[in-house]
C-alpha cells in the first residue's frame, strides 16, 4: 500500500504540493485579513480592478507576439519587449513635432489626428524592427540547437535597448498631454478615467481583430498550419518563410500599438521601459498557455488584474509594509506557480515539458 503510494507520488511531487498548499493558505489568509480590516472602500477595489484591466489589455497585446512566435518557431523572442519599446520611443519625436505645431491644444479633432499618426508611426517602427530582427538574427539559426536562438534573442534585446539609449539619450522623455483624454467618464454609474476606457476598448478591439485574422483569413489559417507542422505545411504549398515574416509583422504591429497605449497611460518613454512589460507579457502568455491566441488574451487580463489587486488584497492583510514594492515579484511567483502546477496554462496544451 505504502509502496504503491510512494510510487505514485514521488518525494518532489509531495514537496511541491505542500509548497502549493502553503502558498494557497497564505493567499486566503491575507485576503480574509485585508477584507475584514475594511481598510479599502469598494470604490477603491473597483478602481484597482479597472486599472488592472487596462494594464492587462496591454499585456495581452504584447503576449500575443510571444505566443504567435512561440507557436511557429518554438522560441521565446526575448527581444519582443524591446520591440514594444521601440515604437512609442520613436513616435515620441513625432509627438513632439505635433506638440510644437499646437495639435495638443485641446481641440479633440486635431488630437485624434495626431494620435492616429503617432499610433501608425509606432506600429510601423515596431514592425520594421521585428522583421529586421527575424531576418538578421533569427532566420540563420532556425535549425540550430534550441538554446542558441534564445541566447541570440537575449543579446538582441540588450543590443536594442542600449542602441536606443546611445542614439536618443538615456533620459526619461515625457509625452505631451492629450487634453480630451483627461478626466473621467461615467459608465453604468461608475466614474472611470477616460484613458483607461480608451486603452481597454482599443485593446479588446485589436484582440478581436487578431482572432478573426487568425481564424478566418487564408494567411491566418496558413499560420496555424505552420505552427502545427512546418514541413507538412511546406508540402501543402505554404511558403513557410513568408508566414514566419508575417507572424513577426503581426506581433511587431501589435507590440507597437500596445506601446502607444502604455504611453497614453504613463506618458513617458525610456529605453529600458520594454523590459518589465515584456517579461510580464511573457508570463501572461504562459499563464494562458503559450502558443494559444485566446489564452494569451485571457492570461494578459488575468495578470493585469492580479498585479493590480494582489499587493493590496493579499500582502496588506499580512502586515507587509509597502506591498506595491513586491508587485513585480508577485508576477514572477505567479509564473513559477503556473509552470509548476499547470504548465498547460489556463487554456492550452502541455508544452512546458514537451521536448523541442
Amino acid at each position: 500500500m505504502l509502496k504503491r503510494l510512494t510510487r505514485r507520488f514521488s518525494g518532489t511531487t509531495i514537496v511541491m504540493w505542500l509548497i502549493g498548499l502553503a502558498i494557497l493558505a497564505i493567499v486566503v489568509m491575507g485576503t480574509i485579513l485585508t477584507l475584514s480590516s475594511g481598510k479599502y472602500k469598494a470604490s477603491e477595489w473597483l478602481d484597482l480592478t479597472i486599472n488592472g484591466l487596462a494594464l492587462g489589455g496591454i499585456y495581452a497585446l504584447i503576449a500575443l507576439g510571444y505566443t504567435l512566435v512561440y507557436g511557429i518557431l518554438r522560441m521565446i523572442n526575448f527581444a519582443h519587449g524591446d520591440i514594444f519599446m521601440a515604437g512609442p520611443f520613436a513616435a515620441y519625436f513625432v509627438a513632439v513635432a505635433f506638440d510644437n505645431a499646437n495639435y495638443f491644444g485641446g481641440d479633440a479633432a486635431l488630437e485624434v489626428i495626431a494620435l492616429t499618426v503617432i499610433m501608425i508611426f509606432a506600429m510601423v517602427v515596431s514592425t520594421v524592427l521585428a522583421i529586421l530582427l527575424e531576418r538578421i538574427a533569427y532566420r540563420p539559426l532556425r535549425r540550430a540547437p534550441r538554446l542558441i536562438p534564445l541566447i541570440t534573442a537575449i543579446g538582441a534585446s540588450f543590443f536594442l535597448e542600449y542602441s536606443f539609449r546611445g542614439l536618443f539619450g538615456s533620459g526619461v522623455k515625457s509625452y505631451p498631454e492629450v487634453a480630451f483624454l483627461q478626466g473621467k467618464w461615467i459608465i453604468f454609474g461608475i466614474a472611470i478615467l477616460k484613458i483607461r476606457v480608451v486603452v481597454i476598448a482599443a485593446a479588446i478591439l485589436m484582440l478581436l481583430g487578431l482572432n478573426t485574422f487568425v481564424q478566418r483569413t487564408k494567411v491566418g489559417k496558413a499560420m496555424q498550419a505552420v505552427s502545427e507542422d512546418k514541413d507538412t505545411a511546406a508540402l501543402m504549398g505554404i511558403d513557410v518563410d513568408r508566414i514566419i515574416v508575417i507572424t513577426f509583422l503581426v506581433g511587431g504591429a501589435l507590440a507597437g500599438a500596445a506601446g502607444v497605449l502604455y504611453v497614453l497611460m504613463f506618458r513617458q518613454v525610456t529605453f529600458i521601459m520594454g523590459f518589465m512589460p515584456g517579461l510580464k507579457a511573457f508570463t501572461a502568455a504562459v499563464l494562458g498557455g503559450i502558443g494559444n491566441v485566446v489564452g494569451a488574451a485571457i492570461g494578459g487580463f488575468f495578470l493585469g488584474i492580479a498585479e493590480s489587486l494582489f499587493p493590496n488584497l493579499v500582502l496588506d492583510g499580512l502586515g507587509i509594509p509597502a506591498p506595491y514594492q513586491l508587485r513585480d515579484a508577485l508576477a514572477f511567483v505567479l509564473l513559477v506557480l503556473v509552470l509548476i502546477f499547470r504548465p498547460t496554462g489556463i487554456v492550452g496544451e502541455r508544452l512546458a515539458a514537451k521536448k523541442a
Binding site: 521565446i76 534564445l150 541566447i151 537575449i154 543579446g155 515579484a329 512546458a352 515539458a353
Partner: protein
C-alpha cells in the same frame, strides 16, 4: 565573355553600404566621441579614430576576400577596385552625416550628432577640406588592404600583428599606468620589432621545434613544465606588484570568473540555462553581510569572515537546491525564464521594506569586516586579489576534476538528451540538483568575498544584468571549457574595466557580442573540442 568574368558591383556596393551603416551607427551611438578622449598616438590617432579605421579595415577585407573568392585568378585591379570602393563608400556615409549635420541640427533626435563629433570626423580641418581628406582616407585604407592581402601569408601576419599591437600597448599604457598612449617613435618601434619577430618566427619555427624535440626527454619535460605551469603561475602570483589599480581590475575579473566557473557547470556541463544566477551571488553576499556586520542587531552574535564563509556557501548551496526543485521538470527556455524570475524576486525582496529590519532594505548593509589571517588583513586590492585567486583556483580545480568524473559525465549526458540519459540509469533529480548546488556554491563564494571587499552591499549590486554578464562571458569564451571561461572573463570584464569610457556601452557591446557569437561562432573563442564538432556538423531538423 560570359557573366562570371564581370566585376561583381552589386555585392561590393552592398558590403560598402553595410560598412557605412556600421560606421554611422558607431558615430551616432556616441562611441566615437566617447573614445576620442583616449589617445593611441598622441596628436595623431585617438581611440575613436582607431575604431573607425578598424571598421574600414574590416569591411574592405570582407569585400576583397569576397571578390577574390568569386573566381579563380581574379585580376589584381579588381581587388584594389573593390577595396577602394568599399573604403570610399564607408566614409561617404560619414561625410554625408557631416554635411547634413552642418545643414540641419540633428541633435533634437540624435543626441550624439554634435559639432564635436563632426570635428573628429573632419580631423579638425575646415568642413570642405576635411570631407575630402575623409574620403581620401577611406579610399587609401581600402586600397592598402587590398594590396596587403595580395602579399604572402607571412608578411600579412607580420603587418597585422605589428599594427594590432600598437593600440594594445597604448591602451594598457594609458589605462594601467596613467600614461598617454605611445609616441610616434614608440609606435614605429613596436611595428618594426613585432613584424620582424613575426617574420623570423615564421622562418625559423620549424628549426626551433626540431631543436626542442631533440632535447633529452628529461629536459624536454622540464621545459614543457616551465612553459605550461611555472611561467603563467609566476605571472598570476606576482600580478599585484603592478599596483593597486591593476589589482582592482583583476579583482573584478576574479569576481566574475568565479561566477563564470560556477555557471559553466550549470549551463556548460549540465545544459541548464540559468538566467537567475545572480540570486546565489546575492545570497552569498548577504549571508556574509548579515553574519559579520555589527550593524545587524537582530542576531546575538557576529562572526569573522572565515567563520561566516562556510555559512555563506552552505546557504547558497541550499538555495540552489531549493530553487532547483521546482524547475526540475522544465526544459530549455522555460527554465531560463523561470530562473530569471527567481533572480528578480530575490532582488525585489532585498530592496523591499518588508525585509528591511533583517537585511537593510535599500540602505544595504555596511561595516562588513575584512578578512584576516593572524596579523595579515585583506584590506588592499593587492591582498584581496589573492582571495579571489584562491577562490578561482579552487573552483577551476574542482570543475576540471569533476568534468570527467561519473557526475560530470552524467551532466553531459543530461545536457545532450535527458530522456536517453534517464533510460541509461542516470538519476535526473540528483544530477540536476548537484549541478545547481555546485554552481551556487561558487557564486556564493564570490558573493562572500565581494561583500568583504566592498565592506558594504546594496541591493542594486545584484541586478539581473550580472547574470547576463556572466552568461555572456562563458558564451564568448567558450562554453564548457575552463580556459575559455578565463579568456571570456579577461575580455568581457577586464577590458571594459580598463576602458572606462566604454562603461556606458558595455551592454550594447555584450548584446552585439552575443548575437555575433551565436551567428558566427556559437562554440566561443576557445571552445571545448567536443562542442565544436557538435555545432559544426549539420544539425538534423529541430522542428517537431
Amino acid at each position: 565573355m560570359n557573366e562570371k568574368t564581370r566585376f561583381n558591383w552589386i555585392s561590393t556596393i552592398r558590403i560598402g553600404l553595410l560598412g557605412g551603416g556600421v560606421a554611422l551607427f558607431l558615430c551616432m551611438v556616441g562611441l566615437i566621441e566617447a573614445s576620442h578622449q583616449r589617445p593611441i598616438i598622441p596628436g595623431l590617432l585617438s581611440m575613436g579614430q582607431t575604431l573607425l579605421l578598424l571598421t574600414l579595415v574590416l569591411f574592405a577585407y570582407l569585400a576583397v576576400r569576397q571578390t577574390k573568392a568569386s573566381q579563380e585568378n581574379t585580376p589584381r585591379a579588381w581587388l584594389i577596385l573593390s577595396g577602394t570602393l568599399v573604403g570610399l563608400l564607408t566614409n561617404a556615409f560619414l561625410a554625408a552625416l557631416v554635411l547634413i549635420g552642418g545643414w540641419i541640427d540633428l541633435r533634437a533626435v540624435f543626441v550624439n550628432a554634435s559639432p564635436a563629433l563632426y570635428d573628429i570626423l573632419t580631423l579638425g580641418l575646415s568642413t570642405g577640406l576635411g570631407l575630402i581628406v575623409l574620403l581620401l582616407i577611406g579610399a587609401a585604407v581600402g586600397a592598402a588592404i587590398s594590396a596587403a592581402l595580395s602579399l604572402a601569408q607571412s608578411y600579412q601576419r607580420a603587418i597585422l600583428m605589428g599594427l594590432g599591437l600598437i593600440p594594445l600597448v597604448a591602451i594598457l599604457n594609458s589605462a594601467l599606468f596613467a600614461g598617454r598612449g605611445v609616441s610616434i617613435l614608440g609606435a614605429i618601434l613596436i611595428l618594426v620589432v613585432t613584424a620582424a619577430g613575426s617574420l623570423l618566427w615564421d622562418r625559423y619555427q620549424d628549426r626551433v621545434k626540431v631543436r626542442i624535440d631533440a632535447l633529452p626527454p628529461r629536459q624536454h619535460r622540464s621545459l614543457e613544465f616551465g612553459v605550461r605551469w611555472i611561467l603563467p603561475g609566476a605571472i598570476v602570483l606576482l600580478f599585484p606588484i603592478l599596483g593597486s589599480y591593476p589589482s582592482e581590475v583583476m579583482n573584478e575579473v576574479g569576481r566574475f570568473l568565479l561566477m563564470g566557473l560556477g555557471l559553466n557547470i550549470v549551463v556548460g556541463f549540465a545544459g541548464l540555462l540559468d538566467l537567475g544566477y545572480v540570486a546565489f551571488f546575492a545570497i552569498g553576499a548577504y549571508t556574509m553581510g548579515v553574519l559579520t556586520s555589527p550593524e545587524i542587531t537582530w542576531l546575538p552574535f557576529h562572526l569573522t569572515f572565515w567563520e561566516a564563509l562556510p555559512f555563506a556557501m552552505v546557504l547558497s548551496v541550499l538555495s540552489g537546491v531549493i530553487l532547483g526543485i521546482p524547475v526540475l521538470g522544465m526544459r530549455g527556455d522555460y527554465l531560463a525564464i523561470v530562473t530569471l524570475g527567481f533572480g528578480e524576486i530575490i532582488q525585489r525582496l532585498a530592496i523591499s521594506d518588508w525585509l528591511k529590519p533583517y537585511i537593510g532594505g535599500s540602505n544595504g548593509i555596511t561595516l562588513i569586516p575584512k578578512a584576516a589571517i593572524g596579523p595579515i588583513t585583506f584590506n588592499t586590492p593587492q591582498s584581496i586579489y589573492y582571495l579571489f585567486l584562491a577562490g578561482c583556483v579552487l573552483a577551476a580545480f574542482i570543475s576540471q576534476r569533476v568534468k570527467f568524473s561519473r557526475l560530470g559525465r552524467a551532466w553531459m549526458a543530461v545536457r545532450e538528451d535527458e530522456d536517453v540519459a534517464e533510460a541509461m540509469g542516470i538519476d535526473l533529480v540528483r544530477t540536476k540538483l548537484m549541478a545547481f548546488a555546485t554552481g551556487a556554491a561558487f557564486a556564493g563564494l564570490s558573493g562572500a568575498i565581494f561583500a568583504s571587499k566592498l565592506a558594504s552591499i546594496y541591493p542594486h549590486s545584484f541586478h539581473l544584468l550580472i547574470s547576463i554578464n556572466v552568461l555572456c562571458l562563458i558564451i564568448v569564451g567558450g562554453i564548457g571549457n575552463i580556459p575559455g571561461v578565463i579568456v571570456g572573463a579577461l575580455f568581457l570584464v577586464g577590458l571594459p574595466e580598463i576602458l572606462r569610457e566604454f562603461a556606458e556601452y558595455r551592454l550594447l557591446m555584450y548584446g552585439a557580442a552575443l548575437v555575433m557569437m551565436m551567428l558566427l561562432r556559437p562554440e566561443g573563442l576557445l571552445p571545448e573540442a567536443r562542442r565544436r564538432l557538435e555545432l559544426h556538423k549539420a544539425e538534423p531538423g529541430v522542428g517537431e
